[in-house]
Structure formats: C-alpha cells, structure tokens
C-alpha cells in the first residue's frame, strides 16, 4: 500500500512536470504561430502594394506613350497573317538554309 502511495506521488509529480513542459511548449508554439501570421499578413500587404505598383506601371496610357516614343504604333491590317502562312514562311526559310 505504501509502495502504491509513493508510486502515485511520483506519478503526480511527473505528470505536473510534464504538464508544465507541455504548457510551456504550447505557449512557445502560440507565439511562433502569431509571429508567422504577422509575417504572412505583412507579406500579403507587400503583395497588395506590389500588385498596385505593377498595375500603375502597366497602365495602358503609360505603355502607349513609351511605345510611341520608341517608334511603335498600333498594328496595321497588312501586319496580320494566318498561322498557316507564317508556318509556310518558316518552311521556306528552312529550305533556303536561312
């Protein structure tokens, strides 16, 4: 009986220590999760800013101006060809060794 009591006492002490350890680990993991969530939130904000900046840089009126500065213009009708013609031209070039 006494042996059982001593075993129960040690079991209780061990459980308390184990619980303390688990509690400590849980708090540490909670802090880690919070820090990761904050990092993810910051990353999401950064992505939103970058997307907005990309949208501003790629806005058509800006690209239009830049394209015209380097001599580009909207495509003319004679600049279109169907896929087969383009493919034929490629074959011709290969035959001519170009």
């Amino acid at each position: 009986m006494r042996l059982l009591n001593i075993a129960a006492f040690f079991f209780a002490i061990t459980s308390a220590l184990l619980l303390y350890g688990l509690n400590y680990d849980t708090r540490r993991l909670e802090a880690e999760v919070q820090s990761k969530e904050r990092a993810a939130e910051r990353a999401r904000d950064d992505i939103a800013v970058l997307k907005a900046e990309r949208g501003t840089l790629a806005r058509p009126d800006r690209i239009d101006g830049l394209a015209r500065q380097i001599g580009l213009a909207p495509p003319r009708v004679d600049q279109f060809a169907n896929g087969r013609e383009v493919s034929d031209l490629g074959d011709q070039d290969r035959r001519n060794g170009r």
Partner: protein, 558 residues
C-alpha cells in the same frame, strides 16, 4: 488480553481505537482541504466571470472605427483596376493634447485643406478620447505629421481603396467613401450584390476579385480617341462604348471629362456625369436604324422598295425636310444611306404610332434599364404618342434615351434579333437563356448589309468610318441640341453607331461628340460624317486586332 479471549471479542483493543481516531481525523482534514479547494475554485470562477464582464463593457465603450475590406476589381484579362491598400490615418486624443491652437496651426502646415475651426471645436471637448484628424493619408504625409512631434496625435492603419490605372474607366468603377463603402458604379454594386467585410484593422479581403467585362486595352483606345476628338473638334464633351453583340459584355465605356475614382466628390458634380448611362439625349438619325428595321421586319417595305421623298412632310406647324435633299424617289436602302428624314417619317407613318411604339417597347427603348454600374437614366417619352411624335422619333427627335440603351437595342437587331442585355461583368462560357427573337434573321442580315453599304457607298454618310479589312458598317446621327427657345442647328450632338465585321457582326461601337466645331480638315462641317465617323474609324483600327477580329485577307485565307 483476557485469557479466555471473551474480552478481546466484546471490547476493542486500545490500539485499534487510537488508529480509528487518527483515521477519522485524517479524513476530516482531507475532506476539509478538498472543500476549501473547491470553494476557492468556485470563488475564482466567480471573480473571473465578473472580471470578464467588466472587460467587455470597457471594450464597447472604447471608440472603434469600422472600415470595410473590399474585393479587388480586375478587367476581363485579370489586370488590376481597384484594390485595397494599407494607409495611415491620423487621430487625436483631446485629453492628451497640450496646446490645441499650436496643434491645429502646425497640422495646417502639412494638411493645408484641413477644417481648422471644426478640429479646434472637436479638440475642446476634453471628455472625448478620439477625434479623427485625417483618414487615409499617404505614408509621406503621415511621416511629416509624425515629425511635427505633437503630443496627443496618433496613427492607425486602415484600408484605403486605390485605383492603379488612374482615371481609366473611372465612371464604370465608381467611388467609395472614407469607410471604404461603395457609393457609385461597380463599387456600389459590390456592396449590394457581392459583399464586403467589416474590419477593425487593415485586414485585406480574402474574397475572389470581381472580374469586369472591360478590356483595359480597348478602354484606353476609346478614352484616347475621345480625348483627341474632343480637342480636335473643340467639343463640349464626348462619350463612347464598345459592346459585344453576342454576349452583351461592355468592352469599354467612357465619358469625358473623365472622373477620378479616388475623388468621390467629383461624382456629385454634373460636369462629370456619365453621359453614356446617366444622361438621356435625342440622338438624331442613328435612330433610323430602328425605324428601318421595323419597316423591314413588319413587311412594310423591302430594301429595294422605292418611296417618293421629294415633298417635305407637313405635321401641324412643323415641316420635315431632308438635310441632303435627293430630289428623286429613293429606295429604302438609299433612305438609310442618304439619311432621309422624310423617308424614315413616311415608313414610321405607314406602320402607325401604335406599331412603332410597340416595336420600340419590344427593344426596351421605352422602359428603364439597370446594369451593374447602376440604373440607366430613364427614357424621356413624348407626352402623347401621335402622328407628330411618330414622325420625329423616326429620325431621332422627340424621344431621349441613354446612349447605352440605344447601343444595346441596335446590338439586338444585329444579333439575329436575339435580345442583348448589356453587362459590365465578364460572362463565362455557356449559351445564354434562349429568348424570343425580336426581329427575324433576314431583317438582321438586311440591316447589317445596309449599315455596311452606308460606309462603302460613294454617297454613304459613314464613309469616313471605313477601315480597310475590318468590314465596318454604321450609321451617322447629327441631332440639333435643345436649348433656350428651341433647337439650335449651330450646336449639335454628332454620333456614329458602328459595327464590325459586318459579315457576322461581333462588336457594336457608339461614339458621341457634344457640340463639336468644324475644322479646316472637315471644311467647317460639324456633322457626324465629318466628326464622329472618322473617330470611330480610328477607334476600330486600334481595337479590332486586340479583339481578335481577323482582317478580310487573313479571314478569307483561313
């Protein structure tokens, strides 16, 4: 112990009595301990419950500013048009502010447009702990305010709507208020039909982006051409739309002067009215498209039916004449290409007021229309639909409609008569619900041919809209603008209803110029054939390729 053991049985030994007493005492101590332990737990729980309640009361009494996180808005190809960004907002705690006058004066150096009197009044109330100074400022401004080092000023991050494409499609996108709630346009539609999420911090929305039917490349081309036209013809304003005939999707819609969605106050200024949806106008001869379609569909005439249009039409005290009198009988085709008011009037009269009204009603021209951008301005109908109204409406006077509504009606004519419901949201695959055709396929094809002829015929009014290779068709409209004391032919609304490719119309364009002036290039003319038609030609030459319309030679060789 007794020798016979009798005593041992009848009376317990003193050791046993002692042991029993000790056990009883131990049990009392243990039970007592357990009782006090449970009592302590109960007291602790009660304390916590009471404490928790007071914490909630405190939280509710704190000033909490609610904002809303909104989904992004993207064009049909996923290019960003509107998004939420974190932005600092400045607030003050009147209880901590040391010198109100100094604070307001110094703030005014960074925020010159601040309402100083109002801020002073708000800061005078020492019972308040929270006063907004300015919400959604740029990080640069926030830093400058921070550098002033004024006690009592603090910052919190909130969501602010940003429009990376600037003024592009401003009228369609609409505006939001300082709490990030939609006020007009698609932004309002998001609040009403898609949903926003209330947030107390700068938390971005996790909702899927709202995909519009707009194509920002086509939208830019339209806005650019309208800006150029407005400058070139010194017009008082302009508007334009590109509509997909098959799906009703609006590829581009613009109105000048353009509105900045980041400045909600502009939305209340009449100057920035969206002329495409929020204004109604008598559109002039473009309306003959519907009149002739009715005549063909009702079997009143065929394209080669000849009508004598030499005599002016007398209606009460009005006399209807032609702008370019032909002085000979004209076929229905010629009535369209010469834009004969008399011919259109005679065809409408032949149908009669009831039939003509019923035809326009069938196309939704007489009832209010609603799109995702908001309600379209209701048509202004004649007070009495008599003979005079029938004649004037046949050539686009006496009935004022929103240009978007008219463009949708003509798209229905060209879509084999199937009704076209304009939408600003992208439509995904699948056939639309089968609806009854409004006109026959033959009428639709005849109208497409007439519109093409109006651009290719040597005497057609829409010659300037032609773009070799893209089979453009269309109809001009020059309507006198109503003003004080009646209509003035000096000020006109010049418009061009275009469509391409006319062998199977895919897209409808509608360009309107308000009060354009003639130039040396137009030989002083301000009519649609010289102004709105060439603008449409330039627009189609820019957008046809983007929309995947193959030029004739390429299409024929495929």
């Amino acid at each position: 112990m007794a020798a016979d053991g009798t005593l041992a049985i009848g009376r317990p030994a003193p050791d046993d009595v002692r042991k029993r007493r000790t056990r009883s005492a131990t049990e009392t101590v243990v039970y007592g301990f357990l009782f006090f332990a449970f009592a302590e737990v109960a007291i602790h729980l009660l304390t916590l419950a009471a404490g928790h309640q007071s914490a909630v009361t405190l939280a509710v009494s704190e000033p909490v500013a609610t904002s809303f996180s909104r989904p992004d808005i993207v064009d049909r190809n996923g290019r960003l048009l509107a998004t939420d960004l974190e932005a600092p907002s400045i607030y003050a705690d009147p209880g901590v502010v040391l010198d109100r006058d100094e604070l307001v004066e110094k703030l005014a150096t960074v925020l010159p447009d601040i309402d100083q009197k109002e801020l002073l009044r708000a800061l005078s109330d020492r019972t308040r702990r929270f006063v907004w100074v300015r919400r959604g400022v740029s990080p640069k401004i926030a830093q400058r305010v921070h550098d002033l080092g004024l006690p009592g000023l603090s910052f919190r991050y909130e969501l602010k709507r940003a429009y990376p494409a600037g003024l592009l499609a401003g009228h369609v996108l609409g505006t939001v208020n300082v709490d990030n709630r939609g006020l007009t346009g698609i932004e309002k539609y998001i609040d009403e039909s898609i949903g926003t999420d209330p947030v107390h911090a700068a938390s971005l929305s996790t909702r899927m982006p709202v995909r519009l039917s707009l194509d920002i490349g086509v939208q830019h081309a339209l806005e650019d051409e309208l800006d150029d036209a407005e400058q070139k013809y010194r017009a008082a304003g302009s508007a334009g739309i590109v509509l997909n005939v098959k799906t009703g999707e609006v590829l581009a819609s613009a109105s000048t002067p353009r509105i900045n969605p980041a400045w909600p106050s502009q939305a209340h200024d009449d100057k920035y009215l969206d002329k495409m949806t929020a204004g109604t106008y008598e559109l002039g001869s473009v309306f003959k498209t519907l009149t002739i379609a009715m005549a063909l569909d009702e079997g009143l005439a065929k394209p080669d039916t000849v009508i004598d249009v030499r005599k002016p039409l007398e209606v009460g005290r009005f006399t209807v004449t032609d702008f370019h009198p032909a002085n000979r009988p004209l076929s229905v085709t010629e009535i369209f290409t010469h834009s004969s008011n008399i011919g259109a009037g005679m065809l409408a009269l032949q149908a009669g007021p009831d039939k003509f009204e019923a035809f326009l009603r069938k196309f939704g021209m007489l009832s209010p229309l609603k799109t995702e951008e908001g309600p379209v301005a209701a048509p202004q109908l004649p007070p009495k639909w008599g003979k005079a109204s029938t004649i004037t409406i046949s050539y686009g006077h006496g009935l004022a409609v929103a240009p978007l509504q008219f463009a949708a009606a003509t798209a229905s004519v060209l879509n084999d008569g199937k009704p076209v419901h304009p939408t600003f949201l992208k439509r995904y695959g699948g056939d639309q619900a089968a609806e009854k055709s409004l006109v026959t396929r033959t009428t639709s094809r005849d109208m497409a041919r007439l519109m093409r002829l109006n651009v290719t015929a040597p005497d057609g009014t829409g010659k300037e809209a032609d773009v070799p290779g893209y089979r453009v068709g269309g109809k001009t409209g020059t309507a006198d603008m109503p003003g004080r004391g009646g209509y003035s032919s000096k000020s006109v609304i010049s418009s061009f209803l275009g469509a391409f490719p006319m062998d199977d119309p895919q897209y409808v364009t509608f360009v309107i110029l308000f009060d354009p002036k003639g130039t040396a290039e137009t030989k002083g003319q301000h009519t649609a054939g010289y102004t709105a038609a060439p603008v449409t030609g330039r627009l189609i030459s820019r957008i046809a390729g983007q929309l995947g319309v193959a030029p004739t030679d390429v299409a024929a060789s495929q």
